[in-house]
Symmetry: C2
Subunit: 226 residues, 2 copies
DNA sequence: CGGATGCTTCGACTACGATCGAAGCATGAA
DNA sequence: TTCATGCTTCGATCGTAGTCGAAGCATCCG
């Protein structure tokens, strides 16, 4: 009857509080088991299982069996982008579930957005790469320049491997705290993994916050000046 | 309990089919009355009234009383951006409510996105302005250059008036058909109005499609080359 | 002042979906 | 094999939210 895509289905999937909690938890980027997700949402395992089946059918999640565990994760980058967009609007309406606590500043400084770095540091990363002409901007699209390729290979990132994947290498993602873009895509993912592998930064348990070590923070700020 | 903004409330507002239909209708950019919106959603006036109250309370809509009519419209640009993001994902999942009909190509070519031009022509507009260095890109942010200001004033747009509004003048909006950015913000709105005022383009009734006249199409393509 | 139109509020009905206990499957460990 | 763990399926219950008819306000017109 009406034109355009069916947003009601997606909306209703996100609209249930239990499911929204699970999706928020998965924005942390790690794949989680039904048991863990049930705890996040505050429901029993049976209920969680039913929700997860719906989210998977709706294309928001994928699952991977591993032994007797089942790991659920966001299906694609685009799901993360969409959720951040919703969060941005909800935050602008002042619709936060918790009173801003001590963790809030840490979240604004650096957090994980599905699989890449977000927050103040995430925005700085992209801005710095653009300023150094290692990433080029055309409208919404980002492209790695030749200089950019040399740069990330020097950092120890396997560029051919990035190219192989079907996903875009560079991609913008709107930040709900900064209201600016940060770097997503397979490069964004690879860079975050690099920071963690080098011991510069750590994920906090049960939170999206990323904590930089003193050494890591210094190295990051030097490598990506404004 | 959980960190981050509350997306469930927003999701549940969008999640009801009747409300989703009304929001989709309002993406056409025109303010509509409860009676019209009820027709779009296929429900009675009483039900529509209740839905509209909820959408307004949730910050998605604003209303303006005018005589004995009440006009509802999307509350801010950001609502439109968020909805387009949802539509983009829904479309990528193949979740379209209608089988792609004859109107579909027209929608992809040029349509209104809340209050600005979207589709192929919308993307071309932004690309052309960027190529002519009349708009500058930094990350997600767009800025009008001096050359750009001269250009739009030459077109007959009142630049000081744009400046006065609190909204950003330039802004990107992700296009669900093109998967690229087009120009939103008060300038995007002013340009669409300009095209319509000049008689170059017309909104189609009960649709988001924009139909360019032959003369208007020629003028548009000349003014904004790739 | 009626009378008509546009919309909201109230109340009652209904249906759908979230929830959980219990039982059923699968996988891995002993 | 037997037991334990992790998860799904089934079935029943319960709330809540969408729906509409009827009545109540507000605004405009003649």
């Amino acid at each position: 009857m009406k034109e355009g895509p069916d947003i009601a289905l997606i909306g209703s999937l996100i609209g249930d509080p239990a499911r929204a909690n699970m999706l928020t938890a998965l924005m942390g980027g790690q794949a989680l088991t039904p048991t863990e997700l049930a705890a996040h949402a505050g429901i029993t395992l049976q209920t969680a299982s039913s929700h997860l089946a719906k989210l998977e059918a709706g294309g928001l999640l994928t699952q991977r069996k591993q032994g007797r565990h089942r790991y659920y994760a966001l299906a694609e980058d685009e799901v993360g982008l969409m959720l951040e967009s919703l969060m941005g609007f909800a935050a602008s309406r002042g619709l936060t579930r918790h009173r801003p606590g001590p963790k809030d500043p840490a979240l604004r400084k650096a957090r994980v957005c599905y699989n890449h770095l977000a927050g103040d540091y995430g925005v700085r990363l992209l801005d710095s790469l653009i300023a150094a002409r290692q990433i080029e901007v055309t409208g919404e699209d980002l492209a790695l320049t030749d200089a950019g390729r040399d740069r990330i290979e020097a950092l120890g990132i396997d560029y051919p491997a990035l190219q192989k994947s079907r996903r875009p290498i560079c991609r913008t993602c709107l930040d709900w705290s900064e209201r600016r873009s940060h770097l997503a895509g397979s490069l964004g993912e690879a860079l975050l993994r690099l920071f963690i592998d080098k011991g510069w930064a750590k994920r906090e348990q049960n939170s999206r916050a990323i904590r930089f070590t003193d050494r890591g923070e210094k190295a990051f700020l030097e490598l990506f000046p404004l």
